[in-house]
Every structure is written in C-alpha cells, then in structure tokens.
C-alpha cells in the first residue's frame, strides 16, 4: 500500500538564511533524485526548489515504511546539504497522504504563495516536475498527483478571481492607464527625474505597448543613461514643461523640495494639446505634482498613497477570494485521496481473488482426476466451488472497500495485513492507475 510523504520548507516557516542552504541547483536536483531512487524506502520522488520553497514529494512502499521514508528524506536532506537533522526538524514541515495532497494543491493554486494568486508558481512546479520525470523518478502515483495538482491550480484560477487586480505599484499604474486609454499602444510616457520605481513602472508600461519614452532630468547625462534603457529620448529639464505636450502618461519622481507641475501651467498645456487625456503618476516624496492638478479636465493624478491604496484593496479582494479557493482545494484533495485509495486497493483485491481461484481450480482438477464424474456433475461441482470462493470473499472485500470509501485510516493496515497474511504478490506498478 503506497504512502505519500512530503518534507519541505517555505517562506512561511523558515527565513531566507535557511532556505538558501536547502535549495537545489539543477544538477544537484538530478543527482539527488538518482540517489533517492536507489534507496529502499522511496519508490517515486519529485523535488520542488524555488526561491520561496524547497519541497520533496515521495511515495513510500508501505505504511510501516512511511515513517521510515519521512525520516530518510530528512536524513537525506541533512546529509546532502550538510546540516543537522535537528535544525531541519525545526524549520521543516512533514506531511502524510491527505495532508501532502492538500499541501501540493494549495501550492499550485498559489494559496501558499507570498502573494496569493501570483501566476509563476504553477509554471515553477511544472518545470520541477518535468525535470524529476526526466530522471525517471516519477511513477504512476506522483504522475497522477501532479497532473491533478495542475488541473486544480487552473480550476481555482478560472473559478475564482484570486488572480485579478494588480498587487504591485507598477502594475496598478499599468492597470489604471488601461482604464483610461484602453490600449497603451502608440502612447508616450514621460519620466521626470529618475528612480528605481519610475523605471520599473516605465518598463511595465513599455511591455504593455507604450511606444515612446521621454526622459527629462536636470542632469542631461543622467537622462541619457536612463533613456538608453528604453530606447527613449533624453531631455535636459529646466522647469519648462513643454515636453508634456506629447506625453500621455507622466511619471514623476524627482527629489525637488517643491511642486514642479502646478495646476495653471498644466491647464494651459492641456488646452494646447486639445485635452487629450493625461495620466500623471507622482511617486516622489515630497510630491512633485500639485494635488490641485487633478481638478484639471482630462488630467488624472495618482500619487504613491493612491496607488498603494489600490494595491491594498486588490490584496484584500484576493484574500476574500482565497476562502472560496481553499474550499475548492479541500474538496479536490479529499476526492483525489479517495480515488487514490480505491485504485490502490484494487490490485490487492484482484490478487486475493486470483489466489483463491487458483486454489479452487487446482483442487477441482485433482478431484476430477480422482473421481470420474459426468459432464453434468463436473459442471455442478465447478459452479459450487466458484460460489464458495465468491461468498467467502464477499464480506471481507466489501468491508475493505467501505473502509476505503469512508476514508477510514485503518484500511491501509487491512491491506497490509491481507498482503502479508496471504502472501499476496501484488503487482506494484499500479498499472490500473
């Protein structure tokens, strides 16, 4: 009876200092999977290693092996990364069966991520899984588990809105710009001053279609340097705002102590540019743009606090949606666990039937050989033995199936006992899976 075991750590439980020691590079990953496969306790394994988490998923051969397998995984990690098992125990979580399934589903549904609803984790898990599969460490159980985990990740994303709404300042700016202009294609962005945040925002805007970048800075050399990154036009800024004539989006982040863009000059510019929309983003502290500018027709002003409020409200929305997502994950995990159990019990049931049938057949042949029976009598005796086999097995097998369906934890032991008591040779490749 196969058991699912997982050992791992993530940003929720461990600091970066610990996670970085545990991380696997690509070569390390392949090497360690090969070593894991050589061990007796582990049948199948997948290693997931991203910057936020390191997790080992494994299939152990039997119930008794499950604890041994978990211990072995911990020891393996400790040995591989030259750490003490105690420190691993302190920072790692250990999951069995249903817990493992639920945990993996939460990971692919991005519910366990730093930012709920982020899109990268699904791809990262897929990549790790594929790499593990290439080394031959994945068998039918993990194959089934991960395939299901990917589909649960997709289901959660399509049936809830946990991925909706920007959760970073720069994306919030892009989203707002789209609400104003619809498309950013052919639009011009002007960067006043320079800074990491304004460059990041500009980068996202360009990635979303903005075609022209103008960089204005008091120091021309600085403007040239920033403009190079976007293939933009550098400009020496000398309190002349004429460069705003062509700008659709303005990002301001200078360290000027006073407002650089005031209401009246901007109103004049807006009139001269025939009131084409202008989206102004003021990420400077102290502010560069007079808040009164938002009273100018067709000019929309957002400062850093406004953008942060948008992000906060989006995060809150995602948290609310996460409740619904958790429900989906719990439901899918439970269903998958039951299916897995049923499929895993089937080979045992089949084997015991075969064994009984074999005994009956042998005895029948011996009986026919000794007593010369007519065809009619032979048929009667054959059907009688078959009925006996069936009836003897009926209750035990039905109870076993019930135990599995009820999610009864004992059934694994039942299966184990059956296999050992009857010396069943259960084919372990789970070809029916």
């Amino acid at each position: 009876m196969n058991q699912l075991v997982s050992v791992g750590t993530s940003h929720h439980v461990a600091p970066i200092e610990f996670r970085e020691k545990l991380a696997f590079s690509e070569e390390q990953l392949i090497e360690s999977l090969q070593r894991l496969r050589e061990s007796d306790q582990v049948q199948e394994a997948v290693i997931l290693s991203t910057c936020n988490r390191v997790e080992l998923y494994a299939v152990a051969h039997s119930v008794r092996n499950a604890d041994a397998a978990a211990k072995m995984l911990l020891e393996f990690l400790a040995q591989y990364h030259q750490m003490s098992v105690e420190s691993l125990k302190k920072w790692c979580y250990l999951h069995h069966n249903l817990e493992t399934i639920q945990h993996l589903f939460r990971v692919t549904a991005s519910l366990d991520s730093m930012v709920v609803g982020e899109s990268q984790i699904l791809g990262q898990v897929k990549a790790s899984y594929n790499r593990s599969r290439e080394t031959g460490a994945v068998g039918t159980v993990l194959n089934r588990l991960f395939t299901k985990a990917f589909s649960v990740g997709k289901r959660v994303r399509s049936e809830t809105t946990i991925t909706a709404g920007a959760v970073s300042i720069s994306y919030a700016a892009v989203e707002l710009a789209k609400k104003i202009f619809n498309t950013l294609e052919g639009k011009t962005v002007a960067i006043l001053g320079a800074g990491e945040m304004s460059e990041l925002t500009a980068k996202h805007l360009v990635a979303n279609g903005v075609s022209k970048v103008v960089v204005a800075n008091r120091t021309y050399a600085r403007a040239v340097k920033v403009a190079e990154k976007f293939n933009g036009t550098p400009l020496a800024y000398d309190s002349n705002l004429d460069f705003l004539m062509a700008a659709d989006i303005v990002i301001s982040s200078t360290d000027a102590p006073h407002y650089l863009i005031n209401r009246q000059p901007l109103a004049d510019i807006m009139r001269r540019r025939r009131h084409r929309y202008m989206f102004l983003i003021d990420i400077a502290v102290p502010r560069d743009i007079d808040p009164d500018v938002s009273k100018v027709d067709h000019a929309f002003l957002y400062n850093i606090d406004d953008l942060e409020a948008v992000v906060a409200s989006n995060l809150q929305d995602r948290q609310q949606e996460a409740v619904q997502a958790e429900r989906i994950v719990a439901e899918e995990a439970k269903r998958f666990y039951n299916q897995l159990q049923v499929f895993q019990v089937n080979p045992t049931i089949k084997a015991i039937h075969q064994q009984f049938q074999q005994v009956a057949d042998t005895e029948l042949q011996a009986c026919f050989y000794k007593a010369a029976l007519s065809h009619q009598q032979e048929a009667a005796v054959t059907s009688m033995t078959q009925a006996i086999v069936k009836k003897l097995l009926h209750h035990p097998m039905q109870n076993l199936r019930c135990a599995v369906n009820d999610g009864d934890a004992d059934h694994a032991q039942y299966v184990q006992a059956l296999q050992e008591l009857f010396e069943l040779d259960v084919n372990d490749d789970n070809s029916e899976l």
Binding site: K179, I180, Y277
Partner: protein, 279 residues
C-alpha cells in the same frame, strides 16, 4: 397574436433584469463565477426578445398589408425594435456587454408602453401607405436608437471617470469600458445618429413636397423640435472637432441630446399639435 406580444414583453423584462444583474455582479467578491453565465443569459434573452419582436411586426405587416405606424403604440414598439437592433450591432462589433445595462431597460420600457399594440387595429390612412413612410420612420428611429446608445456610453463614461477620480476601485467599474472607448464609441454613435436623422428628415421633406404636394409647414412642432435636436448634436460634433470637446463634456452633451430626443419624440406627440401626431 396577443399571446406572442405578451411573451415578447416578458422576455424583454427578463433581458432587462439580467442586464442589470450583469452590472451588479461586477463587484469583485462573491458572485464572480456567475458573471459569465449571467452575461450570456442577458445577451441571449435580448436576442430572443428582438427576434420575437421582429417576427411579430413581420406577421402584423402580412396580416394588415401595411406598416404599423398609425398609433403611438405602434411607433413605440418600433422604437424598441430599433434600440435593440443598434445595441446588438454594437455588441457584435465591440463585444461591450455593459452598454446593455443602460440601453435594454429603455427598450423594455418602450415595449411595455406599447402594450396596446395588438388591439390598435385601425388602418393607416391611404396616402400614408407607401415606402416613403417606411423609409422616413425607419431612418429616424434608427437615429434615435443611435442617440440612445451614445447616451448609454455617456453615462458609462461619467461613472467610470468618477470612479477613477475618487480612486475607489470597487463595484462595477471593472466591467465598464475604459474612458477612451466610451468616449470614442459614444462619438461614433452620435455621428451615425446625425447621418441617419439627416437622411430621415430629407426623405420626409422630399416626400411631403414633391410626392404628396403638401405645403411645407415650418411651424410644425415636430419639425422645429427635430431641428433643435439635430442642432444640439451637430454643434457637439463641431465643438469636438475644433476645440477638442470630448470626455465628460461630450458625455453631458449626449445626455442633453437624449433629453432633446425624448422631447421631440414623446413631448411633442403628447402636448403639442403637429401633423406628425399619432392616433
């Protein structure tokens, strides 16, 4: 016949309810998974209502041998038909469902008012039974429908702009089109409306002048009121072209134009004397 019309009214009611629900589901949390279903029910019930109404008018024309334009109820039903047609064309071209939440209820109210359609059976006076009347009224009703679409875009623009200025990121603003889209499509609808209205007026005047040989009456209330409406829209287009009056100014102008359309269509008909008055 009356059963068919009742069914049409009910389907329009359902369509209006689902169109309104569609906007209500725009609020982020909760009903988000229902939204696509509601959107498709809203659209398909609108299409069903439109198909039934078209069928109904078609059957009526076959039965009576002329176009239903004698009574106010006839004209209002036709008005509802034109509004739905323009809305469906816009959805087909742009896939902007949100417009329906503003426009389909107007069509529903129109068809509800026209409920006596079936019992109003007097024939159209002989001189009016020709294709001139059909062309004249069709063009003008399609113009009205285009103006109502422009009005819907204007409302959506104003709501969305308000949301952006208030910096509140809630309710149905994520279902509303962007400012640029509402503004541009509202403008296109306005231009379409002006072209159709101009053509309708020309057809009407040619018909009276040259075909029926009726002396031209400038002081006909409907004529004057239509000219005022036409003027409001033409001035609006001019301001936009020459002084860049777009955005919320254009949106307010679309609302003003809608009010003028209502005055021309309903006000004149009910309260003033005109050769255009229905029975």
């Amino acid at each position: 016949m009356s059963f068919l019309f009742l069914l049409t009214v009910l389907i329009y009611l359902a369509a209006s309810i689902f169109q309104a629900l569609f906007l209500a589901t725009g609020a982020r949390s909760g009903a988000s998974t229902l939204r696509p279903k509601i959107a498709s029910i809203a659209l398909w019930s609108t299409i069903a209502g439109f198909a039934l109404l078209t069928f109904f008018i078609g059957v009526w024309v076959l039965q009576h041998g002329h176009f239903p334009m004698t009574y106010r109820t006839h004209s209002i039903a036709f008005f509802a038909w034109a509004i739905t047609l323009i809305y469906l064309i816009i959805v087909r071209l742009t896939d902007l469902r949100a417009l329906g939440s503003f426009v389909v209820p107007v069509a529903f109210i129109a068809i509800l008012i026209s409920y006596n359609f079936v019992t109003d059976v007097a024939a159209l006076p002989e001189p009016l039974q020709n294709y001139w009347l059909l062309a004249h009224t069709t063009l003008i009703f399609l113009a009205y429908a285009a103006f109502i679409a422009a009005f819907g875009f204007g409302l959506m623009y104003l709501i969305a702009e308000r949301k952006i200025r208030q910096k509140t990121d809630t309710l149905f603003d994520n279902l509303l089109p962007s400012l640029g889209i509402s503004d541009e499509l509202g403008y296109r609808c306005t231009i379409l409306g002006v072209i159709l209205l101009t053509m309708g007026v020309i057809v009407g005047s040619l018909w009276t002048q040259y075909i029926r040989d009726v002396p031209w009456r400038w002081i006909d209330a409907k004529v004057i009121s239509t000219l005022v409406t036409w003027f409001i829209y033409v001035v609006q287009i001019g301001f936009r072209q020459f002084w860049g009056w777009h955005g919320h100014r254009a949106a307010y102008a679309a609302i003003l134009g809608f009010a003028a359309v209502l005055c021309t269509y309903v006000g004149v008909d009910l309260f003033l004397d005109s050769m255009h008055t229905y029975r």
